[in-house]
Symmetry: C2
Subunit: 322 residues, 2 copies
């Protein structure tokens, strides 16, 4: 009998998605000081990657409706972190069908970004493969993030993995978009992703949502079963119920390169003030959509309205009045 | 490959500790309407046990400082639920060294209670055995709750289990008092408790705290490894960071005897209003004491003071200024 939870795996790397996933809470309109503070905290905490936002299509998403982190123009990113003279690597996310990736993702030599994370639904896997190849050809590390895997059948997941395993993606991420999955499901998926990924040397990652207060636990579960690239965000900031809280994850990891103090500082100085303006976290409506394995959009709408305290009406709407 | 998470174990039973553990938040001063609403929700939800409070010593805890649920006098309990003409069983907790159990715990024939839960620290195991025998002799089901097991060495846990396994206790509960334990630790302890308990046919239970947002996840983990008696509370009400939320647990369990709707109702109508008067939940200070495997008392004090938003100062106090 040993105690593996007090040692560590050096190859385990952490990605901060505070600005990217958190942007879904405030239309990506973070002030520069906020983004700089998160960047600085990531650097000081020894975090490996910071995802600064989306590469979203300006044709689909009008410039005047969103903040800079919806697009991550090179000038905006460099305004915050210059040429990024640190060990921290930078990532941006491009969604299938929502990104003009041919033109908007620059060759790596012209960009401060290090990684492109390609997010897609199962039926979009073919465009995803094109996006992955494009980003790899341009010189980036690439991650393949199959979203909402909890709604995809086992056969379809297998098909996606077969295709993606042959792509130049470096990382395959298990994404629990609806925060609906339990530990046993995480275990099965991580093992399956590892099995397909090993043929071509791919790393497996985990991106969890906190609808059922399981984001941190499921991230630990993924780590136990071999995931070596895990996402978290400061104070769990992220759409709806939010993500795995970085302060909990770093408190759990035992690699001495990680430091938790800068994380509590940025939470105290920036996330706590933000929480008085916008809302995220595992409120009852998110518990319910998580339990039902549904997209959180109904819960987000309910939390934003006058009936945010009417849990029973919300429960009935999703379960009885259908 | 099967999907065990959509079936159920009929022998798995749930205990509601809203009033008992929640009483530590408000000095046990719940209004009758609140206790009745929780009782009614437990009955309608198909919950198996409700823990109504403590049997605490009136010599140590002056009557004028605490509400009725610190003592659970027979008259107070019956005022709420009469002779309890339902399937729901009733429990009360007695702490070693804090209870006049010889006199205050009545013979079962004179009490509406069904179960006594004996809570003790490792060094109090001898008094605990006397308490367990006394309660069993008086006619109750008995549970043995070794508190703060995360601070006890493996040898000492083994010693406690050897002694308790020979007692007439029906249930041995893994108690993560500080909310500090991770899934692998829960697995080891549940297996160890099961091993000792099987000689004398004892059930193993789980009582989790939510300091690291792991209460629900660790309860699932305990269930996976064979715990058949698990604690939860409405909206997670409980000391400090609170407990495993009942609404999440019942959403996870697939036994059709359980119903979640009455739980969302009592949360909406009673717990949400209470949350505007008293505070519980996994705030940063509780994350920190959980990570450090410490009693939450410093965190409770910090949350109650003017510096409740000074996370960094609190972190430094517990880690650097020592």
């Amino acid at each position: 009998m040993t105690a593996p939870w007090i040692t560590y795996r050096p190859e385990l790397k952490v990605l901060d998605c505070t600005i990217r996933d958190g942007g879904l809470v405030n239309d990506h309109a973070f002030e520069d000081g906020f983004v700089k503070a998160v960047y600085q905290a990531c650097v000081e905490a020894g975090i490996d990657y910071m995802e600064v936002g989306y590469k979203a299509s300006q044709k689909l998403f009008a410039r005047n409706r969103f903040g800079a982190w919806k697009y991550c123009d090179e000038d905006d990113v460099r305004r915050i972190l210059d040429d990024n003279p640190t060990q921290l690597k930078l990532a941006a996310m491009a969604d299938a069908a929502k990104s003009d990736w041919h033109t908007d993702i620059l060759p790596k030599k012209d960009s401060v970004l290090d990684m492109i994370r390609v997010a897609f639904y199962a039926h979009q896997v073919s465009e995803a493969v094109d996006m992955i190849k494009d980003a790899a050809d341009k010189g980036y590390e690439v991650s393949a993030n199959l979203m909402a895997v909890s709604t995809v059948t086992e056969l379809e997941v297998q098909q996606v993995l077969e295709v993606i395993a042959q792509s130049p993606a470096n990382v395959l991420v298990v994404v629990d978009s609806y925060g609906s999955m339990y530990a046993e499901q995480i275990e099965l998926l991580v093992k399956q992703y590892l099995e397909f990924g090993k043929q071509t040397g791919k790393i497996v990652g985990m991106h969890a949502h906190n609808n059922q207060q399981l984001a941190f636990a499921n991230t630990i579960e993924a780590i136990i079963h071999g995931a070596n690239r895990v996402d978290a965000s400061m104070a769990g900031l992220g759409r709806g119920a939010g993500n795995c809280p970085m302060e909990l994850l770093i408190g759990f990891l035992r690699n001495p390169k990680f430091h938790i103090r800068p994380i509590y500082r940025v939470i105290q100085d920036h996330l706590l003030p933000l929480s008085r303006k916008v809302e995220w976290g595992p409120f009852a409506q998110y518990n319910i959509t998580g339990q039902l394995n549904e997209h959180p959009r109904e819960a987000i709408a309910a939390r934003a309205g006058e009936k945010r305290d009417c849990y029973l009406e919300f429960y009935d709407k999703l379960t009885i009045d259908v």
